[in-house]
């Protein structure tokens, strides 16, 4: 009888022990992959959102940084205003190569004049914009005309309609941006002209008018010269433009990162406890099994099996159970996270995007390796002990 066959027979022969070990591996691998997926998915989403924003610094009115970050990250609409003159002041700062204003608006909630309730609307200036226009030129070959919009991946025209109604104004959705897992997926981008046109007509068409204060903007997106230090430019902005807060891209979404670090500490603790408990349980089960099977393994040794053969057969048995339980745990965790990703994102209040297949495979292998390692380490001591017993002693006891 070869090694694998012996291990498989032993697995089939002791259903209780096999189930306990497989369930432990299921829990360890499932927890590990779930934690990895959620944390990497959130980090991935944050990076993608920063890349998509395409600005080195975002200048917002003083004290509104968290509000704006929440709007960009979770799609919760916000309206913040600062004087338009800040744009010229920011543009004049050394190291700034481009500065473009944006207006942050919102559709109405529970109003028949808006087909989409409480949607975050971002209006940009096509003449100075360096974030949306280049993407539009690549995607549809031109910029947006009056009455046209681009939306995040979750923005869609309601069934049976041709356009999206905002403040009674019909906007044509021209394209959808690739998913980021953030609030940008639920946001809509329009030009300044469209925003002003909506505001002008909303007094007649909407239940409540859209108000854009004169000579006001919500934010300035800044691109720096190559080699310019964002922190130095940021300090210059604070000194030279009163009443604003610059958010540099490396520091963007800091509040969320801190929240994530707190979460990371808690989940690592849970994973650690699971690992320790599983290890103890597997060790206990294998010790019990080793005692039960003393005679059987003694006979095996008496028939000529080496210590190494017995040790390897026991470890192979543990590995097969770990693989079986680990694969089941990983499949279950990946499936649940994939299916419930929207619910997870909204419940925890942070962005989330599934990793690409290559990265997912690496994470799956990490989860599987953890399950294998925990089971083999736990089974090692009892397996070593029993494989080193003298055959005569093992059979007699």
């Amino acid at each position: 009888m070869n090694l694998t066959r012996l291990a498989l027979r032993n697995i089939a022969g002791s259903a209780f022990r096999s189930w306990v070990v497989a369930i432990c591996a299921f829990l360890v691998a499932g927890f590990a992959i779930a934690i990895l997926l959620i944390l990497r998915g959130t980090e991935n989403s944050l990076h993608l959102a920063i890349d998509r924003l395409g600005a080195d610094i975002i200048v917002v009115p003083e004290g509104t940084a968290t509000k704006v970050e929440t709007a960009l990250l979770m799609g919760n609409p916000t309206q913040v205003w600062m004087p338009r003159s800040n744009l010229e002041k920011v543009s004049a700062i050394q190291g700034v190569v481009a500065a473009s204003p944006q207006l942050y608006l919102s559709t109405l909630n529970n109003a028949s004049c808006c087909t989409v309730a409480s949607m975050f609307l971002v209006a940009y200036d096509p003449e100075t914009d360096f974030t949306i226009e280049p993407w539009l030129n690549r995607t549809i070959g031109r910029g947006l005309n009056l009455g046209e919009a681009v939306g995040g991946t979750h923005v869609f025209v309601p069934e049976g309609e041709q356009n999206i109604k905002i403040y009674g104004y019909f906007v044509t959705l021209k394209a959808n941006i690739e998913p980021t897992g953030t609030g940008l997926d639920q946001s809509m981008f329009i030009t300044f002209d469209t925003a002003r046109d909506i505001a002008r007509l909303s007094t007649k068409l909407a239940e409540k008018p859209l108000i854009i204060p004169e000579n006001s903007i919500s934010a300035v997106l800044v691109r720096l010269e190559p080699g310019a230090d964002p922190m130095t430019v940021s300090a210059d902005i604070i000194r030279q433009v009163p009443g604003v807060t610059p958010i540099t891209s490396p520091n963007m979404f800091q509040a969320y990162r801190q929240q994530m670090n707190g979460l990371l500490a808690s989940v690592l603790m849970v994973l650690g406890i699971t690992l320790i408990l599983s290890g103890l349980l597997i060790g206990l089960v294998f010790s019990m099994a080793a005692n039960e099977r003393r005679r059987e393994l003694g006979v095996l040794r008496a028939m000529g099996a080496t210590r190494n053969f017995v040790l390897r057969s026991l470890l192979l048995e543990a590995s097969l159970l770990a693989l079986e339980g680990g694969l089941a745990g990983i499949s279950f965790a990946v499936l649940v996270i994939f299916l419930f990703r929207d619910l997870i994102m909204r419940s925890f209040g942070f962005p989330f995007l599934l990793p690409n297949p290559g990265l997912l495979l690496v994470e799956i292998l990490v989860g599987l390796a953890l399950a294998l390692a925990s089971v083999i380490i736990a089974a090692m001591v009892p397996a070593y002990r029993i494989s080193h017993l003298e055959p005569a002693l093992a059979m007699r006891e």
Partner: protein, 139 residues
């Protein structure tokens, strides 16, 4: 066979009951027509179709429990696989749910139904495997 039957009964109840509490109709949302009348959104019809699939699945679960013939068990399991596939296809391809991920039908109802459908398929695949494995053994 009894365990698989019990699992299928629980899953059929999940498939029948979950849409009743998670479709847009249950959340007070409906499509408002020009004349002011309201009609249910498509997630509601997905829920109704799931109920139609859940009833035979429930009966199948009961039959799995009372049946003692392996061949019948195998055919019931094959039928169960087909029902499981329909449970998955109704909210995804055949009828669908609302598009917005913010709606409960999209973020809760659809994933639960897909997961339940996968479990139904897996349980019945296990049933087919058991029926072949136990072919020569007394039931």
């Amino acid at each position: 066979m009894k365990i698989i039957g019990a699992v299928l009964i629980v899953l059929s109840l999940v498939v029948a009951i979950v849409p009743m509490f998670t479709d847009c109709q249950s959340q007070g949302r409906a499509i408002v027509l020009e004349n002011g009348k309201t009609i249910p959104m498509k997630c509601h019809w997905s829920g109704v179709a799931e109920l139609v699939v859940a009833i035979p699945l429930f009966v199948l679960g009961v039959m799995d429990i009372i049946n003692r013939n392996l061949l019948v068990f195998r055919y019931l399991s094959i039928l169960g696989i087909v029902l499981g596939i329909f449970i998955i296809l109704i909210p995804t391809n055949l009828i669908g749910v609302c598009i917005s991920p913010e709606m409960l039908c999209s973020s809760v109802m659809r994933p639960i139904l897909i997961l339940a459908g996968i479990f139904v398929v897996v349980a019945n695949l296990a049933g087919v495997w058991i029926s072949f494995k136990s072919q020569n053994k007394p039931v």
